[in-house]
């Protein structure tokens, strides 16, 4: 399993030190709908196990971060991490994408939105649900 380097742990601990409220992490995994094999460092990557290991390490860095792990038998797009009950990450947040999860935790841990008043007013005018998906890569 991937272990965070000490400098990474220190950096993340600093970011999570700014959390103003508790943040839940829910990791769900099960049989993958479309299994993908990735070899890295001479071994096949177990996405769910790697994700769980990373999230556990993140949770260890702040008393405000609480991890729950659920395994399902339902075929689907796994692993799925839900931050603060609202923010989703599909896949293993490795490489640069570790930052995405850390940022999600930091944002979910804010007491107030970081968006401008103008943006908040525009979003308040939404009359229908909107689903955003952002495709990212670890490199």
């Amino acid at each position: 399993m991937t272990r965070l380097a000490e400098h990474e742990r220190e950096s993340i601990r600093g970011i999570l030190g700014g959390l103003e409220r508790d943040v839940s992490l829910l990791l769900e995994f099960g049989p993958e709908e479309t299994p993908v094999t990735v070899i890295a460092g001479g071994r096949e990557i177990d996405f769910a196990a790697e994700t769980q290991a990373l999230l556990q390490q993140l949770a260890e860095l702040s008393d405000h971060v609480h991890l729950t792990v659920k395994e399902t038998e339902t075929r689907g797009n796994w692993p799925r991490t839900t931050v603060g009950g609202r923010l989703t990450y599909l896949g293993l947040p490795w490489g640069y994408e570790l930052t995405t999860i850390v940022v999600a935790i930091a944002e979910a841990g804010r007491a107030a939105s970081a968006l401008s008043p103008e943006s908040l007013e525009l979003l308040a005018g939404l009359e229908h649900d909107v689903a955003l998906e952002v495709f990212v890569t670890p490199t």
């Binding site: 609202r86 979003l123 939404l126 909107v130 955003l132 890569t137 670890p138």
Partner: protein, 68 residues
Amino acid sequence: MLLAYRCALASLRVSAAAVEATEFPLAAERHGVVSVPAIVVDGRPAWVGNISEELFVARLLTAARAAQ
């Protein structure tokens, strides 16, 4: 991704998911993803690249209206 997450936290009408493209290549292919970050709104490719908050919210609202 930051702005998508901020919008989702600001409005219960907005959901935001990051999708690791190399792990879900079929989904990426379905949406024609060739570079990242690629933003899909209500299942439709919307734009690619990082943009300002003002532009992000404006595009989100425009794409949401177009998807209705």
